[in-house]
């Protein structure tokens, strides 16, 4: 039995269904990230776990106990809000100890708990300040301190890093990851940033329109997306999704990509998914991540199925650590990720290596993965 279990959770506002049957589980000490575009219901789902919004159907259990009818303060949870939600009229110490004060914890114990948390987060020198006198990163720490001091069964984070600037966001991300590793707490974390999701999570739930599209480990989500939405949403730069047809010469299958003004590329497939033979001579969506499309010298040595094809390079984007090359296949711009020092010129025709073991195929009608 998992530590956090969400069973068939539904939420309606009048006739509008916001959450359409969510089933998610998380083991003790796990880090679950709910990720999706805005309006997908991820924050609503977090609020229902916190008890700030009621649910229409289903059950939420923490450590085997159903909590969906309990008041937020009785659920043994702590929450970090997007705006931090620090009480402006109280000092940092007052903010951290407010919850304990409400639960009638004696003053001495409160002081001990404040000192302990202040030490962990290194905010000891800020305790007597008001939130308005803190910087963004310091407020973020205090908000985490307020959550940590409860020592709850479950931590809830609602887009905690989205108000920080880019550099601080990376620092705080590492900080959260370290905190999770050292304290071993169970965390549910909402974000729209797929990099945060990939780096922090032990489990990711990708959501769209109130439904979980895919639930799994970051590697599963990244390498084996179940549909086009997940494939497109996760990863930066996004996966190249190109319309193609499946051709066959003799026994093996091949994927055929159309090109403007030149004959199509045909890439032979070895060990293609069995479902693909049903799509012979039919249209499919061919998905390949930019790092699986590179210059032949930079291609992975031990990949079993690499095919090389000449491509017309339209644009070069040197990003420092890598060079991105844009070509055109099947009427779409396709991004390839090359080594930083790859000798490549825009407007030339250059061979590119397709790592087909990493390629995925989707049915254009259902948008589902062909397995």
């Amino acid at each position: 039995m998992a530590f956090l279990e969400i069973d068939g959770l539904r939420k309606r506002f009048g006739t509008v269904e916001i959450l359409k049957g969510i089933d998610v589980e998380l083991e003790k000490g796990g880090f679950l990230v709910l990720v999706g575009p805005s309006g997908c219901g991820k924050s609503t789902l977090l609020n229902t776990i916190a008890g700030l919004e009621n649910i229409t159907e289903g059950e939420i259990r923490v450590d085997g106990r159903a909590i969906n009818d309990l008041h937020p303060s009785k659920r043994d949870i702590a929450m970090v809000f997007q705006s931090y939600a620090l009480y402006p009229n109280m000092t940092v110490a007052g903010n951290i100890s407010f919850g304990m004060e409400m639960r009638g914890v004696p003053a001495e114990e409160r002081q001990k708990a404040i000192d302990k948390v202040a030490k962990v987060l290194q905010i000891g020198h800020l305790l007597q300040r008001k939130p308005s006198q803190l910087s963004g990163g310091q407020r973020q720490r205090v908000a985490m301190g307020r959550a940590l001091v409860r020592d709850p069964k479950l931590f809830l984070f609602d887009e905690p890093l989205s108000n920080l600037d880019a550099k601080l966001r990376v620092d705080m991300r590492i900080e959260i990851k370290r905190l999770h590793a050292t304290t071993g707490t169970t965390i549910v974390y909402v974000t729209h940033d797929q990099i945060e999701a990939m780096t922090l999570a032990t489990k990711i739930a990708v959501m769209r329109d109130g439904e979980v599209q895919q639930f799994g480990t970051p590697a599963e989500i990244y390498n084996n997306p179940t549909n086009i939405f997940v494939a497109d949403f996760m990863g930066s730069p996004a996966m190249n999704l190109v319309p193609a047809t499946i051709g066959g010469n003799g026994s093996g299958l091949s994927v055929v990509l159309q090109r403007d003004g030149r004959e199509p590329i045909s890439l032979p497939l070895a060990g293609a998914p069995t479902g693909l033979s049903a799509f012979k001579d039919k249209q499919i969506i061919f998905g390949v991540r930019p790092e699986a499309l590179t210059d032949p010298e930079g291609a992975e040595r031990n990949a079993s199925n690499i095919a090389t094809a000449d491509c017309h390079i339209e644009v070069i984007e040197p990003a420092g650590s890598d060079t991105f090359a844009v070509t055109n296949l099947g009427g779409k711009a396709v991004v390839a990720r090359l080594r930083a020092d790859a000798k490549i010129q825009p407007g030339t025709i250059t061979p590119l290596a397709f790592n087909l073991t990493k390629a995925v195929f989707f049915d254009p009608a259902t948008e589902k993965r062909i397995l």
């Binding site: 916190a50 937020p72 949870i77 929450m79 939600a85 407010f98 919850g99």
Partner: protein
């Protein structure tokens, strides 16, 4: 050459035109300010003059031999109706009526605003709309119904007095006035607080809920300490309105010992016997105006700031 001089000449006429505009604008403003301050000046000057000087001298002239006598007389000796003990008793009547009325209506308004923004229920817009409607009702139209209600409350008070020995203040004119002002102030105070709390971050309330604070704990510990600007605005607004109210005061406490300041002042000025003591009347009027002035001076900067905050966010 002409090409060089003509723009210069234009510039110089431009400057002079601007100067003329300035003079006209500031002149007009000064004139209006003078016009507006004139009655206050006359009142203040007259209140320090002797009766001889008033009868023989110029209304705008400064007092030849300034005296505080009229102020003392107005405070402690002048006749209000048939009793001649000055207006001091009525001044305290007003204070006793205004302070509870302002505090109760402001606190209830804050509570209403809190519920209407942070604990929304089905039909909250309708409730707010109806409360807003109270702001637009002409008070003359509610005089009679309210008199009937106060009458029944008074009779209920007598019944309570007979059965329990204590009337709970029902039927007391001061309590009646407090009640009336609280009821009719609620529309405005609710409007002020609702608009202020509309922009108040809801995540703070959610955080407090997770922290285990109750409905009233959130109100007292989170909402009220962060409502200082709108609190001051509401207090000033309510204090001025209730202190200056004459209609309800004369209708429900127009006679007797509980008469508020405004009614008493009217009775001082409207005496039909003897010489009209303009200096005493003016001093009494100044005394009647002092508390509202004081409130503005003490809290005025919050008033402007609070109104601005509402304007930007609302």
């Amino acid at each position: 050459m002409s090409a060089v001089t003509s723009p210069a000449r234009e510039a110089s006429t431009g400057i002079s035109a601007r100067t003329v505009n300035r003079i006209v604008i500031y002149g007009l403003l000064a004139l209006f300010a003078l016009f507006y301050l004139m009655p206050l000046f006359v009142m203040l000057v007259t209140s320090f003059k002797t009766m001889d000087e008033i009868q023989n001298g110029n209304m705008l002239a400064l007092p030849q031999s300034p005296t505080l006598e009229p102020w003392f007389k107005a405070w402690g000796e002048t006749c209000v109706g048939l009793t001649c003990a000055g207006i001091k008793g009525y001044f305290w009547n007003s204070i006793k009526m205004v302070v509870p009325a302002v505090l109760i209506s402001t606190l209830l308004g804050a509570l209403n605003g809190y519920v209407l923004t942070k604990w929304r229920f089905r039909g909250h817009t309708l409730v707010f709309g109806l409360m807003l409607f109270a702001c637009f009702i002409p008070f003359q139209s509610v005089l009679l119904p309210m008199a009937t209600i106060l009458g029944s409350l008074g009779r209920f008070g007598v019944t309570l007095q007979n059965s329990t020995g204590f009337s709970f203040g029902l039927g007391n004119p001061t309590v009646n006035l407090v009640f009336v002002h609280v009821v009719y102030g609620l529309g405005f105070t609710t409007l002020f607080f609702r608009n202020y709390y509309e922009a108040f971050p809801t995540e703070l309330i959610k955080a407090a809920q997770v922290d285990g604070a109750s409905f009233f704990q959130i109100f007292r510990r989170i909402m009220l300490p962060n409502s200082m600007p709108i609190f001051v605005v509401t207090v000033i607004y309510q204090f001025t309105n209730i202190w200056n109210d004459f209609l309800f005061a004369s209708a429900y406490a127009g006679t007797g010992d509980a008469m508020p300041m405004t009614v008493a002042l009217n009775n001082v000025v409207n005496t039909s016997t003897g010489v009209v003591e303009y200096n005493v009347n003016m001093a009494a009027a100044m005394i009647a105006a002092l508390p509202t002035l004081l409130v503005y001076v003490v809290a005025g900067r919050y008033f402007v700031r609070g109104l601005m905050a509402g304007a930007v966010k609302g």
